[in-house]
């Protein structure tokens, strides 16, 4: 099994705890990195890259003191090394201009509003994980338990 990471960024600790808790079902196979700022996330992401490991999904808060979540995801998207990494924006503040910006830059794969629904969040992450694994050419067999069957079926038909 490859080492494939999920990464969460949220400046409010209680909220970060709650997100990570909802994603605990994936933790057995996908270690979750928890970050309280964009700056911290960037060092963790660089470490993951340097160690030659996978970063499958980044779940980012929107309004944070050091950097706006959308700006961060746009930058991450423009970084060749993390092109395949799936980006999920978790936001309590969905303004029109921000949404357009995110979509135009194709930086956000999913958008989920606070307060979020646990099953919905898990469903999105499951789908994004599946897409990442298939697009990155990783052997998906060991991960079947955590993958989205419908996405898997569609993607496999395409290839």
């Amino acid at each position: 099994m490859e080492k494939i990471f999920l990464l969460c960024i949220e400046d409010q600790r209680e909220v970060l705890n709650a997100v990570v808790e909802d994603l605990a079902i994936f933790e057995e196979a996908f270690p979750i990195e928890e970050c309280e700022s964009v700056a911290e996330a960037i060092t963790v992401i660089e470490d993951i890259y340097d160690a030659g490991l996978h970063l499958a999904v980044v779940i980012s808060d929107h309004v944070m003191p050091d950097k706006n979540g959308i700006d961060f995801l746009v930058e991450l998207h423009q970084d060749e090394r993390f092109r395949n990494t799936k980006k999920l924006l978790l936001t309590g503040l969905a303004t029109h201009a921000d949404t357009i910006n995110a979509i135009n830059n194709a930086a956000v794969d999913r958008y989920i509003a606070k307060p979020w629904d646990k099953e919905k969040l898990q469903g999105y992450v499951r789908k994004l994980l599946t897409e990442y694994i298939l697009e990155s050419g990783i052997d998906y067999q060991p991960y079947l338990k955590w993958m989205d069957q419908e996405t898997l079926y569609q993607k496999l038909r395409k290839y």
């Binding site: 400046d11 409010q12 600790r13 209680e14 970060l16 705890n17 709650a18 808790e21 933790e27 057995e28 270690p31 990195e33 928890e34 970050c35 309280e36 911290e40 963790v44 309004v63 944070m64 003191p65 050091d66 950097k67 309590g92 503040l93």
Partner: protein
């Protein structure tokens, strides 16, 4: 031309045409010189006192259109127009004396008439100009009043909405908070009964403190635990979050790995309840600050010394500033017609902000300086701190709602505070500016007075 004092020309005119003691009227305060529709063949010049002209709207409410003091011409329209009918009401606002000339006294075609027509023209034009100027000023004032009203209405509507929302949210938060406390008690009872392996204290650590390490510290501690106790990444991370010391872990000896799941289970149960209590407390604070906004919009403006509103704010946030050095440099200020609670709110937010910035640096030399002074028709108040400064990228959107500069923990920071501050300052046609670099952050509020 706007000068109400008599010019040389009007003095000359008065001497030449308006000096016949038989053509003089003395008016008491409130006496009517002309009224709408009145036939008039006299041209008046005010010698003493003050006349006020007004027109009435359909409901009979008078609107002032001119005020004429000594040297000013009154009745020009009815005197010169074909119908010789006055269109306005002219009343003496104080005991006044007017001199006049009769139309019939002017012989058409005579040199004297020619002379009158030439000399009176500038005075009449001056009169028209003054009336027009007054009309323009009134229009501008009315427009400004309308805008001010619209702003106040918007703010009041926002305040009412906020108050309604705050009430609803308080109920919901109350339920969540009380039930979290109830649940914590039940869990404490249940887990202490069920406990057989000395796990209960981990629940209490979670409930009392939650996660005290930052995510970066958890990552580091996790690595330490991984190598020290030969644990998996997941196990060490879960253990790291509890913040339990090596000494406390040693007692499990080689069996530690098999206990980790239980330790984590107890700790996390407490931690979840701790987060819930913290979050509801946070929500209650946010609601309280929104409620303030709602309450502040209902009071009528009153003459206020802004220095007193600063003192009022300092009294409210005393506990925030007591560990800091406070330097007050309050100058003499004119009274301003404002809603004092608006300004108390402004200073509370700015002082709170400064105090939080200073505290976050953990230096013992934390200092807040508050200055006020009056200069050139403007009151200027500055709140300065020697905190770490506001990051460059945050400066441009610091006054937007939802922007936080919190450094750690559950401080509400600038969230709503500064957007409310800006709204209030703008209501009084004031401005707020920010200047910030490490070691010096100043918010400067300027209000026309």
């Amino acid at each position: 031309m706007m000068d109400q004092e008599e010019s040389n020309h009007t003095l000359w005119l008065r001497k030449r045409f308006f000096s016949d003691p038989n053509r003089c009227l003395d008016l008491k305060t409130g006496d009517k010189l002309l009224q709408p529709g009145q036939y008039n063949e006299r041209l008046f010049m005010v010698v003493e006192g003050l006349l006020v002209g007004s027109i009435e709207n359909e409901e009979g409410r008078p609107y002032e259109i001119f005020r004429s003091g000594p040297g000013k011409i009154v009745g020009a329209y009815s005197f010169f127009a074909d119908a010789h009918r006055s269109y306005s009401t002219v009343i003496a606002e104080e005991p006044s004396r007017v001199a006049y000339i009769e139309r019939s006294a002017l012989k058409m075609g005579t040199p004297e008439n020619q002379d009158f027509a030439e000399q009176i023209l500038p005075a009449v034009v001056d009169e028209i100009y003054l009336r027009q100027l007054q009309a323009h000023q009134l229009t501008i004032e009315r427009e400004e009043a309308r805008e001010q009203l619209a702003r106040m209405e918007k703010l009041a509507a926002l305040g009412q909405m906020a108050a309604g929302l705050a009430h609803e949210l308080n109920n919901a938060i109350g339920v969540i908070n009380n039930n979290a406390v109830w649940l914590a008690d039940r869990m404490r009872e249940y887990l202490s009964e069920k406990d057989s392996n000395g796990m209960f204290p981990f629940f209490e650590i979670g409930l009392e403190s939650g996660i005290t390490l930052s995510s970066a510290e958890v990552r580091q501690r996790s690595r330490e635990l991984e190598s020290r106790f030969q644990l998996s990444a997941n196990q060490s991370k879960n253990l790291a979050k509890t913040g339990i010391s090596n000494e406390n872990l040693e007692r499990f000896g080689r069996n530690l790995p098999q206990y980790i799941e239980r330790i984590s289970y107890y700790f996390e149960t407490g931690r979840v309840l701790n987060d819930m209590l913290h979050a509801s407390e946070h929500a209650a604070k946010v609601v309280a600050s929104v409620q303030q906004l709602g309450a502040a919009t209902r009071i009528q403006p009153q003459p206020t010394n802004l220095n007193q509103t600063i003192q009022g704010a300092l009294a409210i946030v005393k506990n925030l500033t007591k560990t800091l050095q406070l330097d007050l440099q309050l100058g003499t200020l004119p009274l301003l017609s404002v809603n004092p609670s608006d300004w108390v709110q402004v200073w509370i937010n700015l002082i709170k902000n400064a105090a939080e910035a200073v505290v976050s640096t953990r230096t013992s030399k934390g200092k807040i300086t508050i200055r006020s002074k009056y200069e050139e028709g403007q009151i200027m108040i500055q709140i300065q701190d020697n905190g770490p400064g506001i990051p460059e990228e945050l400066k441009s959107r610091i006054f937007q709602p939802n922007v936080t500069t919190k450094v750690e923990g559950l401080t509400f920071g600038l969230g709503l505070g500064l957007s409310i501050v800006q709204k209030i300052v703008e209501t009084y046609h004031g401005t707020i500016e920010l200047e910030s670099r490490p070691g010096m952050t100043v918010f400067t509020v300027k209000i026309p007075a």
